[in-house]
Amino acid sequence: MTKQITVPFGPQHPVLPEPLHLDLVLEDEKVVDVIPTIGYVHRGLEKLVEKREYTEYVFIAERICGICSFIHSQTYVQGIEQIMGLEIPERAEYLRTIWGEYSRLHSHLLWLGLFADSMGFESVFMNAWRLREHILDDLESTTGGRVIQGVCKVGGVRKDVAPEKLDEMLKGLKNLEHELNELNNVFLFDQSMKHRLKGIGKLSSEDAYQLGAVGPTARGSGLAIDIRETGYGAFGKINFRPVVEHGGDSYARCAVRAKEMFTSIDIIEQCIKKIPDGPVDMKVTGAPDGEYFSRTEQPRGEVIHYIKGNGKKNLVRHRVRTPTFTNIPPLVTLLKGCELADVPVIVLSIDPCIGCAER
Protein backbone atom coordinates (compact mmCIF):
# COMPACT_ATOMS: atom_id res chain seq x y z
CA MET A 1 0.00 0.00 0.00
CA THR A 2 1.16 3.52 -0.72
CA LYS A 3 1.92 5.76 2.19
CA GLN A 4 -0.86 8.14 3.09
CA ILE A 5 -0.13 11.79 3.64
CA THR A 6 -2.43 14.56 4.77
CA VAL A 7 -2.38 17.86 2.92
CA PRO A 8 -4.18 20.85 4.43
CA PHE A 9 -6.20 22.94 2.00
CA GLY A 10 -6.99 26.44 3.28
CA PRO A 11 -8.14 28.35 5.28
CA GLN A 12 -6.10 31.00 3.52
CA HIS A 13 -5.79 29.74 -0.03
CA PRO A 14 -5.21 31.72 -3.23
CA VAL A 15 -8.20 30.19 -4.98
CA LEU A 16 -10.67 30.79 -2.17
CA PRO A 17 -11.83 34.25 -1.26
CA GLU A 18 -13.30 32.68 1.84
CA PRO A 19 -11.81 30.49 4.54
CA LEU A 20 -12.67 26.83 4.20
CA HIS A 21 -10.35 24.21 5.57
CA LEU A 22 -10.12 20.69 4.21
CA ASP A 23 -7.76 18.00 5.36
CA LEU A 24 -7.06 15.96 2.26
CA VAL A 25 -5.73 12.46 2.83
CA LEU A 26 -3.70 11.52 -0.21
CA GLU A 27 -2.29 8.34 -1.68
CA ASP A 28 0.18 9.63 -4.23
CA GLU A 29 -1.87 12.23 -6.10
CA LYS A 30 -5.22 10.68 -5.34
CA VAL A 31 -7.55 11.99 -2.63
CA VAL A 32 -8.81 9.11 -0.53
CA ASP A 33 -10.45 10.93 2.33
CA VAL A 34 -11.58 14.44 3.15
CA ILE A 35 -12.25 15.97 6.53
CA PRO A 36 -13.88 19.38 6.34
CA THR A 37 -13.37 21.92 9.11
CA ILE A 38 -15.56 24.95 9.32
CA GLY A 39 -15.99 27.69 11.89
CA TYR A 40 -13.61 30.35 10.58
CA VAL A 41 -16.54 32.64 9.83
CA HIS A 42 -18.86 31.51 12.61
CA ARG A 43 -20.25 34.60 14.32
CA GLY A 44 -23.27 33.20 16.10
CA LEU A 45 -25.70 35.72 14.69
CA GLU A 46 -28.73 33.50 15.26
CA LYS A 47 -28.45 34.27 18.94
CA LEU A 48 -28.86 37.99 18.26
CA VAL A 49 -32.65 37.48 18.05
CA GLU A 50 -32.54 37.79 21.83
CA LYS A 51 -31.22 41.33 21.54
CA ARG A 52 -32.91 42.68 18.42
CA GLU A 53 -36.59 43.16 17.75
CA TYR A 54 -38.01 41.12 14.92
CA THR A 55 -38.34 44.18 12.67
CA GLU A 56 -34.72 45.27 13.23
CA TYR A 57 -33.42 41.76 12.80
CA VAL A 58 -34.03 41.97 9.03
CA PHE A 59 -30.74 43.85 8.79
CA ILE A 60 -28.90 41.06 10.59
CA ALA A 61 -30.60 38.42 8.44
CA GLU A 62 -29.48 40.27 5.34
CA ARG A 63 -25.89 40.26 6.55
CA ILE A 64 -25.73 36.49 6.91
CA CYS A 65 -24.04 36.69 3.56
CA GLY A 66 -23.08 39.55 1.29
CA ILE A 67 -23.70 37.62 -1.92
CA CYS A 68 -27.09 36.13 -1.17
CA SER A 69 -28.03 39.16 0.94
CA PHE A 70 -31.31 40.13 -0.65
CA ILE A 71 -32.77 36.64 -0.72
CA HIS A 72 -31.86 36.09 2.95
CA SER A 73 -33.84 39.16 3.97
CA GLN A 74 -36.69 38.10 1.69
CA THR A 75 -36.82 34.63 3.22
CA TYR A 76 -36.80 36.02 6.72
CA VAL A 77 -39.58 38.58 6.21
CA GLN A 78 -41.60 36.02 4.28
CA GLY A 79 -41.49 33.73 7.30
CA ILE A 80 -42.58 36.51 9.66
CA GLU A 81 -45.40 37.50 7.30
CA GLN A 82 -46.60 33.90 7.14
CA ILE A 83 -46.73 33.62 10.93
CA MET A 84 -48.52 36.93 11.31
CA GLY A 85 -50.87 36.16 8.41
CA LEU A 86 -50.00 39.30 6.45
CA GLU A 87 -51.06 39.68 2.83
CA ILE A 88 -48.50 42.08 1.47
CA PRO A 89 -49.21 44.30 -1.58
CA GLU A 90 -48.77 42.51 -4.88
CA ARG A 91 -46.39 45.11 -6.26
CA ALA A 92 -44.04 44.41 -3.36
CA GLU A 93 -44.11 40.68 -4.18
CA TYR A 94 -43.13 41.43 -7.77
CA LEU A 95 -40.38 43.82 -6.77
CA ARG A 96 -38.94 41.24 -4.39
CA THR A 97 -38.97 38.68 -7.17
CA ILE A 98 -37.22 41.07 -9.55
CA TRP A 99 -34.51 41.94 -7.04
CA GLY A 100 -34.15 38.30 -6.08
CA GLU A 101 -33.47 37.36 -9.69
CA TYR A 102 -31.05 40.25 -10.04
CA SER A 103 -29.20 38.83 -7.03
CA ARG A 104 -29.10 35.45 -8.70
CA LEU A 105 -27.64 36.98 -11.86
CA HIS A 106 -24.97 38.83 -9.91
CA SER A 107 -24.15 35.76 -7.86
CA HIS A 108 -23.86 33.47 -10.88
CA LEU A 109 -21.64 35.94 -12.70
CA LEU A 110 -19.51 36.28 -9.59
CA TRP A 111 -19.20 32.52 -9.39
CA LEU A 112 -18.41 32.27 -13.10
CA GLY A 113 -15.54 34.71 -12.62
CA LEU A 114 -14.11 32.98 -9.58
CA PHE A 115 -14.49 29.60 -11.20
CA ALA A 116 -12.66 30.71 -14.34
CA ASP A 117 -9.99 32.24 -12.12
CA SER A 118 -9.51 28.93 -10.33
CA MET A 119 -8.64 27.38 -13.67
CA GLY A 120 -6.43 30.24 -14.78
CA PHE A 121 -8.91 31.53 -17.36
CA GLU A 122 -8.35 35.18 -16.46
CA SER A 123 -10.14 36.79 -19.38
CA VAL A 124 -13.43 35.10 -18.52
CA PHE A 125 -12.94 36.20 -14.90
CA MET A 126 -12.53 39.81 -15.96
CA ASN A 127 -15.37 39.73 -18.45
CA ALA A 128 -17.83 38.08 -16.06
CA TRP A 129 -17.11 40.70 -13.45
CA ARG A 130 -17.40 43.46 -16.02
CA LEU A 131 -20.93 42.26 -16.88
CA ARG A 132 -21.73 41.91 -13.21
CA GLU A 133 -21.15 45.63 -12.71
CA HIS A 134 -24.17 46.38 -14.95
CA ILE A 135 -26.33 44.30 -12.63
CA LEU A 136 -24.91 46.00 -9.57
CA ASP A 137 -25.57 49.40 -11.15
CA ASP A 138 -29.23 48.51 -11.59
CA LEU A 139 -29.43 47.16 -8.06
CA GLU A 140 -27.80 50.28 -6.68
CA SER A 141 -29.98 52.71 -8.58
CA THR A 142 -33.17 50.93 -7.50
CA THR A 143 -32.35 49.90 -3.92
CA GLY A 144 -29.46 52.13 -2.89
CA GLY A 145 -26.98 49.38 -2.15
CA ARG A 146 -24.55 47.43 -4.28
CA VAL A 147 -24.21 44.22 -2.32
CA ILE A 148 -26.23 44.82 0.84
CA GLN A 149 -29.54 46.27 -0.28
CA GLY A 150 -31.49 46.76 2.95
CA VAL A 151 -34.71 47.18 1.02
CA CYS A 152 -36.87 44.37 2.40
CA LYS A 153 -39.00 44.98 5.45
CA VAL A 154 -41.77 43.15 7.24
CA GLY A 155 -44.88 44.11 5.30
CA GLY A 156 -43.36 44.98 1.95
CA VAL A 157 -40.35 46.80 0.56
CA ARG A 158 -38.86 50.18 1.38
CA LYS A 159 -38.55 51.56 -2.14
CA ASP A 160 -40.71 51.64 -5.23
CA VAL A 161 -39.28 51.60 -8.73
CA ALA A 162 -40.60 54.08 -11.30
CA PRO A 163 -42.04 52.62 -14.53
CA GLU A 164 -39.43 54.46 -16.62
CA LYS A 165 -36.67 52.81 -14.63
CA LEU A 166 -38.27 49.40 -15.18
CA ASP A 167 -38.25 50.02 -18.94
CA GLU A 168 -34.62 51.03 -18.74
CA MET A 169 -33.84 47.83 -16.87
CA LEU A 170 -35.53 45.81 -19.62
CA LYS A 171 -33.28 47.41 -22.21
CA GLY A 172 -30.23 46.75 -20.07
CA LEU A 173 -31.18 43.09 -19.79
CA LYS A 174 -31.45 42.74 -23.56
CA ASN A 175 -27.87 43.95 -23.93
CA LEU A 176 -26.77 41.71 -21.11
CA GLU A 177 -28.40 38.68 -22.70
CA HIS A 178 -26.43 39.28 -25.86
CA GLU A 179 -23.13 39.64 -24.03
CA LEU A 180 -23.84 36.63 -21.83
CA ASN A 181 -24.36 34.54 -24.92
CA GLU A 182 -20.92 35.44 -26.15
CA LEU A 183 -19.35 34.75 -22.79
CA ASN A 184 -21.10 31.40 -22.47
CA ASN A 185 -19.92 30.37 -25.91
CA VAL A 186 -16.36 30.99 -24.85
CA PHE A 187 -16.82 29.32 -21.53
CA LEU A 188 -18.96 26.27 -22.18
CA PHE A 189 -17.75 25.26 -25.61
CA ASP A 190 -14.06 25.83 -25.18
CA GLN A 191 -12.08 22.66 -25.69
CA SER A 192 -9.69 23.06 -22.78
CA MET A 193 -12.60 23.92 -20.50
CA LYS A 194 -14.25 20.65 -21.40
CA HIS A 195 -10.99 18.87 -20.73
CA ARG A 196 -10.80 20.30 -17.23
CA LEU A 197 -14.46 19.78 -16.36
CA LYS A 198 -16.00 16.78 -18.11
CA GLY A 199 -16.09 13.72 -15.95
CA ILE A 200 -14.41 15.52 -13.05
CA GLY A 201 -16.16 15.29 -9.69
CA LYS A 202 -19.06 13.03 -10.58
CA LEU A 203 -22.15 12.86 -8.37
CA SER A 204 -24.87 10.41 -9.28
CA SER A 205 -28.43 11.62 -8.96
CA GLU A 206 -29.13 9.02 -6.27
CA ASP A 207 -26.17 10.17 -4.18
CA ALA A 208 -27.12 13.79 -4.67
CA TYR A 209 -30.62 13.08 -3.37
CA GLN A 210 -29.60 10.99 -0.39
CA LEU A 211 -26.84 13.35 0.68
CA GLY A 212 -29.16 16.32 0.59
CA ALA A 213 -27.67 18.24 -2.33
CA VAL A 214 -29.62 21.33 -3.34
CA GLY A 215 -29.48 24.00 -6.01
CA PRO A 216 -27.23 23.71 -9.06
CA THR A 217 -25.33 20.89 -7.35
CA ALA A 218 -28.52 18.80 -7.37
CA ARG A 219 -29.79 20.07 -10.71
CA GLY A 220 -26.48 19.22 -12.35
CA SER A 221 -27.11 15.63 -11.30
CA GLY A 222 -30.53 15.46 -12.87
CA LEU A 223 -32.67 16.35 -9.85
CA ALA A 224 -35.29 19.02 -10.47
CA ILE A 225 -35.19 20.52 -6.98
CA ASP A 226 -36.12 24.16 -7.32
CA ILE A 227 -37.99 25.86 -4.49
CA ARG A 228 -39.16 28.61 -6.84
CA GLU A 229 -41.73 26.07 -7.98
CA THR A 230 -43.56 26.42 -4.65
CA GLY A 231 -44.62 29.80 -5.97
CA TYR A 232 -43.34 32.13 -3.27
CA GLY A 233 -43.18 35.82 -4.13
CA ALA A 234 -44.54 36.29 -7.63
CA PHE A 235 -43.24 32.95 -8.91
CA GLY A 236 -46.76 31.50 -8.83
CA LYS A 237 -47.72 33.84 -11.66
CA ILE A 238 -44.62 33.38 -13.78
CA ASN A 239 -43.83 30.70 -16.32
CA PHE A 240 -40.47 29.09 -15.91
CA ARG A 241 -38.86 25.69 -15.84
CA PRO A 242 -35.95 24.69 -13.64
CA VAL A 243 -32.74 24.05 -15.57
CA VAL A 244 -31.66 20.43 -15.22
CA GLU A 245 -28.55 18.73 -16.58
CA HIS A 246 -27.86 15.03 -16.35
CA GLY A 247 -24.08 14.79 -16.51
CA GLY A 248 -23.48 14.98 -12.76
CA ASP A 249 -19.94 16.27 -13.29
CA SER A 250 -18.38 19.71 -12.87
CA TYR A 251 -19.30 20.59 -16.43
CA ALA A 252 -23.00 19.88 -15.81
CA ARG A 253 -23.01 22.07 -12.71
CA CYS A 254 -21.43 24.89 -14.71
CA ALA A 255 -23.92 24.47 -17.52
CA VAL A 256 -26.83 24.67 -15.06
CA ARG A 257 -25.63 28.01 -13.74
CA ALA A 258 -24.84 29.35 -17.18
CA LYS A 259 -28.32 28.51 -18.44
CA GLU A 260 -30.01 29.72 -15.28
CA MET A 261 -28.81 33.22 -15.98
CA PHE A 262 -31.04 33.27 -19.05
CA THR A 263 -33.96 31.90 -17.03
CA SER A 264 -33.45 34.72 -14.56
CA ILE A 265 -33.46 37.32 -17.30
CA ASP A 266 -36.66 35.80 -18.65
CA ILE A 267 -38.30 35.84 -15.20
CA ILE A 268 -37.37 39.50 -14.67
CA GLU A 269 -38.81 40.39 -18.08
CA GLN A 270 -42.08 38.62 -17.31
CA CYS A 271 -42.27 40.34 -13.93
CA ILE A 272 -41.67 43.79 -15.38
CA LYS A 273 -44.42 43.20 -17.95
CA LYS A 274 -46.91 41.94 -15.37
CA ILE A 275 -46.15 44.14 -12.38
CA PRO A 276 -49.36 45.79 -11.07
CA ASP A 277 -49.63 49.33 -9.74
CA GLY A 278 -50.29 50.04 -6.11
CA PRO A 279 -48.61 50.48 -2.76
CA VAL A 280 -45.43 48.59 -1.87
CA ASP A 281 -45.71 48.71 1.86
CA MET A 282 -48.25 48.12 4.61
CA LYS A 283 -48.48 48.93 8.29
CA VAL A 284 -47.58 46.11 10.62
CA THR A 285 -48.62 45.90 14.25
CA GLY A 286 -48.19 43.19 16.84
CA ALA A 287 -45.57 40.50 16.94
CA PRO A 288 -45.27 37.00 15.48
CA ASP A 289 -46.66 34.14 17.53
CA GLY A 290 -46.03 30.75 15.99
CA GLU A 291 -43.45 28.92 13.94
CA TYR A 292 -42.73 28.55 10.26
CA PHE A 293 -40.18 27.08 7.90
CA SER A 294 -39.66 29.74 5.28
CA ARG A 295 -38.06 28.43 2.08
CA THR A 296 -36.68 30.14 -0.97
CA GLU A 297 -34.30 29.32 -3.77
CA GLN A 298 -30.98 31.05 -3.48
CA PRO A 299 -28.35 31.15 -6.21
CA ARG A 300 -26.75 28.19 -4.42
CA GLY A 301 -29.94 26.29 -3.69
CA GLU A 302 -32.66 25.93 -1.14
CA VAL A 303 -32.38 28.07 1.99
CA ILE A 304 -34.56 27.53 5.06
CA HIS A 305 -35.21 30.02 7.79
CA TYR A 306 -36.96 28.43 10.77
CA ILE A 307 -38.64 31.18 12.73
CA LYS A 308 -40.33 30.75 16.07
CA GLY A 309 -41.97 33.58 17.97
CA ASN A 310 -44.01 33.72 21.15
CA GLY A 311 -45.91 36.98 20.68
CA LYS A 312 -43.10 39.12 22.03
CA LYS A 313 -40.99 41.61 20.08
CA ASN A 314 -37.98 39.31 20.25
CA LEU A 315 -38.13 35.98 18.49
CA VAL A 316 -37.48 32.75 20.35
CA ARG A 317 -35.43 31.18 17.60
CA HIS A 318 -34.20 31.96 14.16
CA ARG A 319 -32.36 29.12 12.53
CA VAL A 320 -30.85 29.32 9.10
CA ARG A 321 -29.93 26.32 7.01
CA THR A 322 -28.11 27.54 3.98
CA PRO A 323 -27.49 25.64 0.74
CA THR A 324 -23.74 25.40 1.25
CA PHE A 325 -24.22 23.78 4.64
CA THR A 326 -26.22 20.93 3.21
CA ASN A 327 -23.87 20.74 0.22
CA ILE A 328 -20.94 19.82 2.49
CA PRO A 329 -21.70 16.05 2.54
CA PRO A 330 -21.97 15.93 -1.29
CA LEU A 331 -18.70 17.88 -1.54
CA VAL A 332 -16.94 15.35 0.66
CA THR A 333 -18.23 12.57 -1.58
CA LEU A 334 -17.24 14.43 -4.74
CA LEU A 335 -13.67 14.92 -3.61
CA LYS A 336 -13.02 11.29 -2.74
CA GLY A 337 -11.16 9.69 -5.59
CA CYS A 338 -10.20 12.86 -7.43
CA GLU A 339 -6.71 14.13 -8.15
CA LEU A 340 -5.17 16.76 -5.92
CA ALA A 341 -4.87 19.19 -8.83
CA ASP A 342 -8.62 19.05 -9.42
CA VAL A 343 -9.57 19.90 -5.84
CA PRO A 344 -9.91 23.69 -6.35
CA VAL A 345 -12.10 23.22 -9.41
CA ILE A 346 -14.37 20.72 -7.71
CA VAL A 347 -14.69 22.82 -4.55
CA LEU A 348 -15.68 25.83 -6.62
CA SER A 349 -18.04 23.83 -8.81
CA ILE A 350 -20.51 23.59 -5.90
CA ASP A 351 -20.15 27.35 -5.43
CA PRO A 352 -19.45 27.28 -1.71
CA CYS A 353 -20.52 30.28 0.31
CA ILE A 354 -18.86 29.88 3.66
CA GLY A 355 -20.19 33.10 5.16
CA CYS A 356 -23.68 31.68 4.69
CA ALA A 357 -22.90 28.21 5.89
CA GLU A 358 -21.38 29.17 9.21
CA ARG A 359 -23.42 32.24 10.03
Partner: protein, 164 residues
Protein backbone atom coordinates in the same frame (compact mmCIF):
# COMPACT_ATOMS: atom_id res chain seq x y z
CA UNK B 1 8.04 57.57 -4.43
CA UNK B 2 9.99 54.37 -4.64
CA UNK B 3 9.36 51.24 -6.59
CA UNK B 4 7.78 49.62 -3.56
CA UNK B 5 4.96 52.13 -3.41
CA UNK B 6 4.50 52.01 -7.18
CA UNK B 7 3.60 48.35 -7.13
CA UNK B 8 2.39 47.17 -3.74
CA UNK B 9 1.20 43.61 -3.44
CA UNK B 10 -1.78 42.96 -1.25
CA UNK B 11 -2.95 39.87 0.55
CA UNK B 12 -6.59 39.56 1.44
CA UNK B 13 -7.97 37.48 4.28
CA UNK B 14 -11.64 37.01 5.06
CA UNK B 15 -11.88 36.89 8.85
CA UNK B 16 -15.50 36.44 9.84
CA UNK B 17 -16.87 38.67 7.13
CA UNK B 18 -20.22 38.16 5.42
CA UNK B 19 -18.54 38.26 1.95
CA UNK B 20 -19.99 41.68 1.20
CA UNK B 21 -16.66 43.46 1.64
CA UNK B 22 -14.72 40.57 0.09
CA UNK B 23 -16.55 40.71 -3.18
CA UNK B 24 -16.10 44.48 -3.21
CA UNK B 25 -12.36 43.98 -2.82
CA UNK B 26 -12.44 41.57 -5.74
CA UNK B 27 -14.54 44.07 -7.67
CA UNK B 28 -11.66 46.53 -7.22
CA UNK B 29 -9.43 44.17 -9.17
CA UNK B 30 -11.77 43.82 -12.13
CA UNK B 31 -12.28 46.11 -15.14
CA UNK B 32 -14.70 48.61 -13.60
CA UNK B 33 -12.35 49.78 -10.84
CA UNK B 34 -9.15 48.11 -11.97
CA UNK B 35 -6.59 48.77 -9.24
CA UNK B 36 -3.96 46.99 -11.26
CA UNK B 37 -3.48 50.25 -13.10
CA UNK B 38 -1.86 51.47 -9.85
CA UNK B 39 0.39 48.42 -9.87
CA UNK B 40 -1.58 46.80 -7.08
CA UNK B 41 -1.55 43.02 -7.36
CA UNK B 42 -3.46 40.54 -5.25
CA UNK B 43 -1.26 37.69 -4.08
CA UNK B 44 -2.00 34.55 -2.12
CA UNK B 45 1.34 34.34 -0.42
CA UNK B 46 1.93 36.30 2.80
CA UNK B 47 5.66 36.40 2.18
CA UNK B 48 5.13 38.29 -1.07
CA UNK B 49 2.77 40.85 0.40
CA UNK B 50 3.22 44.46 1.51
CA UNK B 51 -0.34 45.30 2.46
CA UNK B 52 -2.59 43.06 4.54
CA UNK B 53 -6.27 43.68 3.80
CA UNK B 54 -8.60 42.14 6.36
CA UNK B 55 -12.36 42.01 6.21
CA UNK B 56 -14.59 40.92 9.04
CA UNK B 57 -13.95 40.64 12.74
CA UNK B 58 -11.93 38.30 14.90
CA UNK B 59 -13.51 35.09 16.05
CA UNK B 60 -12.31 32.11 17.97
CA UNK B 61 -11.12 30.06 14.99
CA UNK B 62 -9.45 32.68 12.84
CA UNK B 63 -7.33 34.62 15.34
CA UNK B 64 -4.47 32.21 14.88
CA UNK B 65 -4.68 32.50 11.10
CA UNK B 66 -4.63 36.31 11.16
CA UNK B 67 -1.62 36.31 13.47
CA UNK B 68 0.21 33.83 11.32
CA UNK B 69 -0.31 35.81 8.15
CA UNK B 70 0.74 39.03 9.88
CA UNK B 71 3.89 37.50 11.32
CA UNK B 72 4.85 35.92 8.03
CA UNK B 73 4.72 39.17 6.08
CA UNK B 74 8.09 40.91 5.63
CA UNK B 75 8.73 44.47 6.82
CA UNK B 76 7.66 47.11 5.96
CA UNK B 77 4.02 46.10 6.16
CA UNK B 78 0.71 47.88 6.51
CA UNK B 79 -2.65 46.57 7.70
CA UNK B 80 -5.90 47.85 6.23
CA UNK B 81 -9.15 46.93 8.00
CA UNK B 82 -11.94 46.98 5.42
CA UNK B 83 -15.55 47.30 6.49
CA UNK B 84 -17.15 48.14 9.79
CA UNK B 85 -16.82 44.56 11.07
CA UNK B 86 -13.04 44.72 10.72
CA UNK B 87 -12.99 48.16 12.35
CA UNK B 88 -15.13 47.44 15.39
CA UNK B 89 -17.26 44.32 14.99
CA UNK B 90 -20.15 46.12 13.29
CA UNK B 91 -23.64 44.68 13.63
CA UNK B 92 -22.12 41.46 14.91
CA UNK B 93 -20.21 43.01 17.83
CA UNK B 94 -22.66 41.50 20.32
CA UNK B 95 -22.39 37.97 18.95
CA UNK B 96 -20.89 35.46 21.33
CA UNK B 97 -18.20 34.39 18.93
CA UNK B 98 -17.05 37.84 17.80
CA UNK B 99 -14.20 39.36 19.79
CA UNK B 100 -14.29 42.72 18.04
CA UNK B 101 -12.24 44.60 15.46
CA UNK B 102 -8.94 43.44 13.99
CA UNK B 103 -7.04 45.98 16.11
CA UNK B 104 -7.64 43.80 19.15
CA UNK B 105 -5.12 41.39 17.70
CA UNK B 106 -2.76 43.13 15.27
CA UNK B 107 -1.85 46.82 14.79
CA UNK B 108 -4.10 48.43 12.17
CA UNK B 109 -2.91 51.40 10.10
CA UNK B 110 -5.94 52.28 8.00
CA UNK B 111 -9.63 51.85 8.80
CA UNK B 112 -12.09 51.75 5.90
CA UNK B 113 -15.68 52.14 7.11
CA UNK B 114 -18.84 50.98 5.37
CA UNK B 115 -21.21 48.05 5.27
CA UNK B 116 -20.32 46.86 2.76
CA UNK B 117 -17.35 49.15 2.09
CA UNK B 118 -17.64 50.65 -1.38
CA UNK B 119 -14.88 49.95 -3.92
CA UNK B 120 -14.10 53.66 -4.06
CA UNK B 121 -13.43 53.81 -0.33
CA UNK B 122 -11.41 50.59 -0.44
CA UNK B 123 -9.17 52.07 -3.14
CA UNK B 124 -8.89 55.25 -1.09
CA UNK B 125 -7.87 53.21 1.95
CA UNK B 126 -5.22 51.31 0.05
CA UNK B 127 -3.81 54.51 -1.45
CA UNK B 128 -3.60 55.95 2.08
CA UNK B 129 -1.80 52.79 3.10
CA UNK B 130 0.80 53.40 0.40
CA UNK B 131 1.89 56.63 2.14
CA UNK B 132 2.24 54.80 5.43
CA UNK B 133 4.14 51.99 3.75
CA UNK B 134 6.58 54.51 2.28
CA UNK B 135 7.01 56.19 5.66
CA UNK B 136 7.67 52.86 7.38
CA UNK B 137 10.24 52.03 4.75
CA UNK B 138 12.20 55.27 5.11
CA UNK B 139 12.12 55.08 8.91
CA UNK B 140 13.01 51.39 8.79
CA UNK B 141 10.20 50.44 11.16
CA UNK B 142 10.24 46.91 12.51
CA UNK B 143 6.79 45.53 13.15
CA UNK B 144 6.36 43.51 16.32
CA UNK B 145 5.85 39.77 16.28
CA UNK B 146 2.28 39.30 17.36
CA UNK B 147 1.37 36.71 19.92
CA UNK B 148 -2.08 36.13 21.25
CA UNK B 149 -1.98 38.74 23.97
CA UNK B 150 -5.26 39.91 22.49
CA UNK B 151 -6.81 37.14 24.48
CA UNK B 152 -6.04 39.02 27.69
CA UNK B 153 -8.02 42.02 26.46
CA UNK B 154 -10.80 39.77 25.29
CA UNK B 155 -14.03 41.13 26.78
CA UNK B 156 -14.98 39.14 29.82
CA UNK B 157 -17.99 37.04 29.26
CA UNK B 158 -20.23 35.37 31.72
CA UNK B 159 -22.19 32.29 30.97
CA UNK B 160 -24.91 30.96 33.19
CA UNK B 161 -26.37 27.46 33.32
CA UNK B 162 -26.21 24.92 30.53
CA UNK B 163 -23.84 22.05 29.90
CA UNK B 164 -20.19 22.11 30.87
Amino acid sequence: MTYLAKSPWIIHYDASSCNGCDIEILACLTPMYDVERFGIINTGNPKHADIFVVTGSINEANREVIQNIYNQMPDPKVVVAVGICACSGGVFRECYNVAGGIDKLIPVDVYVPGCAARPESIIDGIVTALGILEEKRTKNVHSPQVTDNGRAEHPKRHAKGGAE
